[in-house]
């Protein structure tokens, strides 16, 4: 049977651009059709921007790579029109077990916070994630949106000019030149866009190798995350077992530094390792296997004039904590509304620097979190291992030690504290909804808050008055009027009011909060809208 990641999804076709005497100019070219490039293209197309995606391949991710998608990215997928498909296909889980040596030290239950449309996370193969995004691209095309993917179009050279970017693209029929007003480089960790522009990519390599295998097996093991520290079947190392849709299980085995990668990848070496872990009598088939060395690094700046980097090309983290694809789609969520406003003249170009400011902050958080997990999982000194083992030993008996056990902290969105787009906090409200924070979901009426937000800027009023529409220097803002009575569970009140009795929130198109006050005050909000659109 052919696997879904072996079927061409956007096969090569000649385009008129290749025959054109003069290079054709596009509004935006996205380089790379991974999860991040596809999300960027859909986001822009939904906002009426013309966008072309170039990818040197014609298929989804080879093998799964990412499996765990967190709540905030799923909410972004809702905005992009594919959240429900992903959640329907994905596996929801909330329980897990931690093993140390020969015993289970504890089990946990990450009960999701109630009153939110999306679960805390789902497990879904990256190839499905990408396939659903490509389906969405096809859907937009049918509706007439100006969005195109060109497979087997490899960017080979880039030239930057004051008002455009020029790309040389290699295809099966030979090279051609194409231009764009803006380029988003989503060409992954080994980004050739980055090296062609001679940009840095600093950070650290963890001196360790991990065997990542996806196996198909019939098993009644529960949908739980099982993590082993120093188990008998992989002495001195770690192991992970996690379930994905279609009876596929993810296995991660730490192998250490001095190994022969090609040898370890051969079935005759992989199969005994998996049998040692799962037991001799379990029948399984290997779907995909690969060996990785992990790194944590990022570019110093993500914006280089008209070339903007997003996803793994801009920053790379170790997979503990599932922050790669999850943070990459938050990059494009942050970037696309700003770029679309710049393109149609509603915001100055300098607003793009806030992308750099906000997303490098997020990248630093992600790098810090995944570095800490990696340190705990693969201690790099004897003392670090001694402390780690002490924590694990204590965790079997004492609850206090469990928060210290770090087998990966799940991706949470960054709060853009100190962003130039934020206005001073004017509400004595909950800290989680301060300016810079992403809007937490809450039940309202027969649905959920996030699905009720309008596509552009919103003025969310809770038991407060405000105009239904506002236009400030070309930026229009629509009101969403709610009352605490809309949510008998009081989640809306707890998340947005706290002690306050009323509130007005200015919410950006990426659903991050730009300003809040206890009531509508015309001047303050006009000022906040100018600020949030990069005009101050």
């Amino acid at each position: 049977m052919t696997k879904i990641f072996e079927v061409p999804l956007y096969a090569y076709e000649s385009s008129a651009d290749q025959a054109s005497a003069l290079p054709v100019r596009h509004q935006v070219i996205v380089v790379g059709a991974g999860p991040v490039g596809l999300a960027a293209a859909i986001d822009l197309a939904q906002q009426g921007v013309e966008v072309l995606v170039l990818d040197d391949n014609d298929k989804v991710s080879f093998g799964s790579r990412a499996i765990c998608f967190a709540q905030r990215p799923l909410e972004i997928m809702d905005r992009l029109g594919c959240g429900q498909t992903m959640v329907d296909k994905g596996i929801q889980w909330h329980e897990g077990k931690v093993f140390f040596d020969t015993r289970q030290v504890y089990g946990f239950d990450l009960q999701p916070e109630k009153g939110q449309r999306r679960p805390a996370f789902i497990n879904l193969q990256q190839y499905y994630f990408e396939q659903f995004l490509v389906d969405r691209v096809r859907g937009l095309q049918q509706q007439g949106a100006a969005i195109e993917i060109r497979g087997r179009n490899k960017v080979e050279a880039v030239g930057t000019h004051p008002d455009h970017v020029r790309l040389e693209v290699e295809t099966p029929e030979g090279p051609y030149i194409v231009e764009a007003d803006w380029v988003i480089a989503c060409d992954g960790a080994g980004s050739s866009m980055r090296s062609m522009l001679g940009k840095d990519f600093h950070g650290r390599v963890f001196e360790d190798n991990f065997l990542i295998a996806d196996v198909v097996m019939q098993s009644d093991l529960p949908s739980e995350r099982w993590f082993w520290f120093d188990p008998p079947f992989n002495r001195g190392q770690s192991a992970l077992l996690h379930k994905q849709p279609d009876g596929v299980w993810r296995i991660d085995l730490q192998l250490g530094w001095d190994i022969d990668k090609d040898k370890e990848k051969r079935p005759e070496n992989v199969i005994p390792r998996i049998k040692a872990m799962l037991g001799d009598d379990i029948d399984f088939e290997i779907d995909w296997v690969s060996i990785y060395t992990f790194q944590c690094r990022r570019m110093e700046r993500f914006r280089h004039d008209r070339v903007i980097f997003a996803g793994d090309s801009a920053h790379q983290v170790s997979p503990f904590g599932a922050r790669g694809a999850n943070s990459g789609v938050q990059d494009t969520d942050n970037l696309c509304w700003k770029l679309s406003m710049v393109i149609d003249g509603r915001a100055p170009e300098t607003i793009l620097d806030s992308y750099d400011r906000e997303r490098t902050q997020a990248a630093d958080e992600n790098i810090s979190a995944s570095t800490r997990s990696t340190e705990f999982i693969t201690p790099k000194s004897d003392m670090s291992r001694l402390l780690r083992d002490a924590v694990l030993d204590l965790s079997a008996q004492f609850e206090f030690a469990r928060p210290l056990v770090n087998s990966g902290r799940l991706s949470t969105p960054c709060i853009y504290d100190g962003s130039p787009l934020n206005s001073a906090d004017g509400l004595n409200g909950p800290s989680n909804t301060r300016p810079g924070a992403p809007c937490p979901d809450a039940p309202v009426g027969d649905g959920f808050l996030l699905s009720k937000l309008n596509r552009g800027f919103n003025l969310l009023t809770i038991d407060a008055d405000a105009p239904d529409e506002l236009e400030v220097d070309g930026v229009s803002v629509k009101r969403l009027a709610l009352s605490v009575k809309d949510d008998p569970s009081l989640a809306l009140k707890h998340r947005y009011l706290g002690e306050a009795t009323s509130a007005v929130y200015l919410i950006r198109p990426d659903q991050h909060i730009a300003a809040r006050r206890d009531s509508y005050e015309e001047n303050a909000f006009r000022q906040a809208i100018l600020r949030a659109s990069g005009k101050e």
Binding site: R372, D382, A396, Q397, A401, P403
Partner: protein, 69 residues
């Protein structure tokens, strides 16, 4: 009477753990052992309650994977 706290009590556990490991960075085995000894004495003084300290000694002994003599 106060009791030894055995439920999670450190607001930012990951921050604390990272600092703890960082404090040991680039120390030799002897230096690290000595640092741990000093750390225990500093923390014990902060606790300042013999009953609680005795409970802590017991908890630490019980936490071992293999029974201590």
């Amino acid at each position: 009477m106060t009791d030894l706290v055995l439920t999670p009590n450190i607001p930012q556990p990951d921050d604390f753990y990272a600092e703890l490991v960082a404090t040991h960075e680039s120390l030799s085995k002897e230096e690290s052992d000595a640092l741990n000894a000093r750390l225990i004495l500093v923390l014990a003084n902060h606790v300042g309650d013999n009953t609680v300290l005795k409970q802590a000694l017991e908890a630490a002994s019980q936490g071992a994977r293999h029974p201590l003599r």
